[in-house]
């Protein structure tokens, strides 16, 4: 049997808009993935710790406050410190197009601005984990 993809859906920072995070979590679960949802108001340290403890394959951040760049920079740095720099990070939310390249440069593998289809996200995650 193929191993289930384990993904941490995380809401970093103070922003409380979790509709997108919860919708995507349900879609990924229906696609056969295992979901761990952090809940709101998580610090980067907390997220990295949960990722370590739960041994997830992917960290998926949902950010709608506009603070995606500083948060992602911090997360990637922290992951490297904790020795899980190789884990895949994806981000979704209100992400202007002009920031997508910056996020890739920081080390975010997949960027899914609001409106991205479930298919796009699921296919990307499956292919990346296989690859």
């Amino acid at each position: 049997m193929e191993k289930k993809i384990r993904i941490l859906i995380a809401k970093p920072g103070l922003d409380g808009h979790d509709r997108g995070a919860k919708v995507v979590a349900q879609a990924l679960r229906d696609a056969g993935m295992e979901i761990i949802y952090t809940g709101l108001h998580q610090t980067v340290d907390q997220i990295v710790n949960v990722a370590l403890q739960e041994d997830v394959d992917i960290i998926g951040l949902s950010i709608l406050s506009g603070a995606h760049i500083p948060i992602c920079e911090k997360l990637i740095k922290k992951m490297k410190e904790k020795g899980i720099g190789e884990k895949m990070v994806v981000v979704g939310g209100v992400i202007p197009e002009r920031d997508i390249k910056k996020l890739h440069d920081i080390g975010i593998k997949g960027v899914f601005p609001n409106g991205s289809s479930f298919d796009t996200i699921i296919t990307f995650l499956r292919d990346s984990i296989k690859g």
């Binding site: 920072g13 103070l14 808009h17 509709r19 919708v23 979590a25 500083p70 601005p113 409106g115």
Partner: protein, 541 residues
Amino acid sequence: MGVASYIKDGEDIKEVILESGISIKPVYGPEDIKDLKYKADINDPGEYPFTRGIHKFMYRKTPYTMRQYSGFGTPKETNERFKFLISQGQTGLNVAFDLPTQMGLDSNDPLAEGDVGRVGMAVDSLRDFEEAFKDIPLDRIGSGLTINAVASIMLAMYQVVAEKYGYSPDIISATPQNDILKEMVGRGMWIFPVEPSIRLIGDTIEYSAKYLPRTNPVSVCGYHIRESGATPAQEIAYAFEIASTYIDHVLQRGLNIDDFVHRFSFNLDIYGNFFEQIAKFRAARKMWAKLIKEKYGAKNPRSLWFRMLAGGGGGGLTKEQPEVNIVRSAYYAMVSALSGTQTMALCSYDEAYTIPTPKAALISLRTMQLLLEEVGVRDTVDPLAGSYYVEWLTMEMEKKIREEMKRVEDVGGMAHAVENGYVQREVAKQAYLFEKALQEGKKIKIGVNKYVMGEKEAQKVELHEYNSKVAGQQIKKLKEIKRVRDTRTVTQKLKDLEKAAREKRNVMPYLITCIKEYTTVGEMTKVFKEVFGEFKEPSIF
């Protein structure tokens, strides 16, 4: 419940089901409303049960107030935006706070980093309110304060700043949002656990009933619950269950229902099916009047008024082809106007991307003005009354809202339903079904799954730039205040606040004395956290 859908047979639409789960026929006639009694179920505007409106002459005498949500960066910048909007004919303010302030964190808190002044103005102490409300006529202009977990602090601060500028508590009109249960369902700006959070709301209601007669201490928000995914029927049902929770709590303090419930207001959402929303508001107005009269035994007719802000919601707007959002919002404004609203606000066309730019906010304001002053929606009250369809749909919405209310009551009421995650699960499930229907093309969204244009077309929006200097300015100001204030007095006032909170006394007078000494929002919140603890989100997956 399901989602709105159109079942087709070739090109013909065979069946239409609204989001609230109501199946719609192609034609309605007298048969459909034969059981409806005009006096008992509808009645004239201004007459119980107020289905047609809470006032006899509605907009002819009392046009809806127009309140665009604004505030960003420093209190000084916010003050400039307020003055601009007032000069353009806006009749009320709707203050946006940044996330740290909403979470009770000072600008220098490590957790606030990157968020200071980003989605609203930063408030650390009274000094910030002094700057934000400078030269604003607080006797004439009412202020909505979009704040919940620390609403008690902001309401106290509003009173203090008003008094400082010469406006007495009995003439100022604040509308703090102050609905914590909806924060726990959607929006997420909660801090303390359910029970003490409800008690803080009780404190503001009780205090306002005594000292702030023109203030609306609670604005019950179906809006954010709907934005989080709830159906229109759930939006109203959950709002009513939340309102009942607050009412029951305040009644336990020995207040009479007529002492306070007339200052409750509702903040509700518009997007989705046009007539479903109108029927939702008409049904809600009637049901509220009946609830307050029959269940709570109110005697004062004003207690029965369902006063609302019916606002065009961001949930309906798209990031694709953003200019089309101007048209969408105009329809939402029309729904609001046709539904007998007291206050209107519209999300601006660029809100799927960014904090509204001044241009976008102005277009929203003009949309609301145009409707009121140019095309005649104010001429006559509730012009849709008597429509076979609208009256039938109003009855059906009432049934659906009742069903949803019963579900919450069956799990032990709203406080319990929020603690154990029932409502959060329902709302998340509904959001998922809705998104799936969109992606499968079962529900049409122009520009998203129909008449789709290239990526480039969608990106013509000017972005609001976040000023990263704001944090530095706020922190500097905070340092100055801490240097000049009387630290010993501040410490003493905080101790008094802590004692009052522990003894479950009304904290409002203690907050006021703290604020006068320039105690910070973070310091007061810390006291509450120590006494009350923090809310733990129920797991819903």
